[in-house]
């Protein structure tokens, strides 16, 4: 069962590498922000899977914090792009 | 009086959330949670509560909300996800016709919770994103929705496709009789 979760976590990390390509490449700032927002969610899900795989539940708290920070930073950066901060 | 009841209802929500996060009945944790949520409620109650303070604590309403989230919304979510998977895997992105369309909303939903819930449900189904919520001249809500593949340009039929089933279920939860200014 632990190997199952570990394989899942590795799949998510590979997907995160694909998103990093979009962040580096994206033609405009909005493209980069979309990819970064999804990268936060993917990181948080990979952390959940890794926590279940190695049995350390402290990583669940870190996943929650990553999700919260991703939400706040996306909202603030998009307001900044709009010129309203 | 209104401020105190707003503070109290926010305090209860914050304390429940703290208990769910900590998950222990240790008296020290309880005391610390009460202190922290009292401070958080004092700072944030004016952002959360605009109308009646105890609008949220209605067992029938919460039960209907749970049923909506588990069945109605989940079904729409899975259907929309399958459609999005078909679009992405087909690879013909030039055949899509994106557009921003104005769809009329249900006149029964006037409260802020209901409007926010309809808008968030539209945004959460892949393929549609709410861009703005406004009122028309009769006071009914209208939603400006960005749709990845506009299949129907008639506003009413498009609204039925985008949110018909979800909005009827939400009107059962947060809806009020037209013309009756309840709970404000």
């Amino acid at each position: 069962m632990n190997t199952l979760f570990l394989i899942g976590a590795i799949c998510y990390v590979v997907l995160a590498l694909g998103l990093i390509y979009r962040i580096a490449r994206g033609p405009s700032a909005a493209d980069r922000l979309v990819a970064a927002d999804s990268l936060d969610l993917i990181t948080s899900t990979a952390l959940v899977l890794y926590a279940l795989s190695c049995g350390r539940m402290i990583y669940l708290d870190i996943a929650l914090v990553v999700a919260i920070l991703g939400f706040i930073s996306t909202v603030f950066i998009s307001r900044y792009l709009e010129g309203r901060v | 009086m209104k401020k105190i009841s707003a503070w109290l209802s926010t305090f209860i929500l914050c304390f429940l959330f703290w208990e769910l996060l900590v998950w222990s009945a240790n008296p020290r944790e309880l005391l610390l949670g009460a202190l922290v949520s009292a401070g958080a409620a004092a700072l944030s109650s004016r952002f959360l509560i605009h109308e009646s303070a105890w609008y949220l604590y209605n067992p029938v309403r919460l039960l209907l909300l749970l049923i909506y989230c588990l069945f109605v919304f989940m079904r729409e979510l899975i259907a929309a996800n399958n459609q999005m998977a078909k679009i992405v895997l087909s690879g013909h992105y030039d055949r899509l016709s994106p557009g921003v369309i104005r769809v009329p909303g249900d006149g029964r939903i006037r409260s802020e919770y209901g409007l926010a819930m309809v808008a968030n449900s539209i945004t959460l189904t892949p393929g549609t994103i709410t861009m703005d919520v406004a009122e028309d001249d009769q006071g009914n809500p209208v939603y400006y929705v960005q749709w990845i593949d506009v299949a129907e340009t008639d506003r009413g039929k498009a609204g039925e496709i985008i949110k018909g089933r979800m909005e009827r279920a939400i009107a059962r939860i947060w809806g009020e009789k037209p013309g009756k200014e309840a709970d404000r």
Partner: protein
């Protein structure tokens, strides 16, 4: 017997979650414009997160871990489902207002038709890359003049 069935269910849920994460990533990588990418990224936030957290909850129940862990997974899924539409809405509106062009022009555009000039803003922080590119023209010019060497 019981644990084998549970393992199979967890594996199926994990595969569904990874499949929809793959769909979202492929959409972000291959879609031609910002708005299509935004729609595809919603797949990651909804069905992928729900399925993986559901698998985690089932695993915690079968393995007999503490109930606080399961509650934390529920909180994580609900939190992502509540906050993701807010950030997506802010992002979509910002991209529309600063004038990001779709790959093909919108077939219907009621926001511009109803609000006119107010639908777009000229006040943006999204400058083109040439505004930041100090290593391009100036440096090569200076290299030709031989001031740097």
């Amino acid at each position: 017997m019981m644990s084998t069935v549970m393992t199979a269910i967890i594996a199926v849920l994990l595969i569904i979650g990874a499949f929809f994460a793959l769909i979202g990533t492929m959409g972000i990588l291959r879609m031609p414009d910002v708005f299509g990418r935004m729609q595809a990224s919603t797949c990651i936030a909804t069905l992928s997160t729900i399925c993986v957290n559901l698998a985690g909850i089932l695993y915690v129940i079968t393995a007999g871990l503490s109930a606080g862990t399961a509650v934390k997974l529920v909180i994580l899924a609900v939190f992502v489902l509540v906050t993701n539409p807010i950030s997506n809405h802010a992002l979509c509106k910002a991209a529309y207002r600063i004038g990001c062009k779709p790959a093909e022009p919108f077939c219907v555009d009621d926001l511009a038709a109803d609000f006119g000039e107010e639908a777009h803003t000229h006040n943006t922080a999204d400058l083109p890359d040439s505004a930041f590119d100090v290593s391009g023209a100036d440096a090569s010019q200076q290299a030709e003049e031989g001031e740097l060497q």
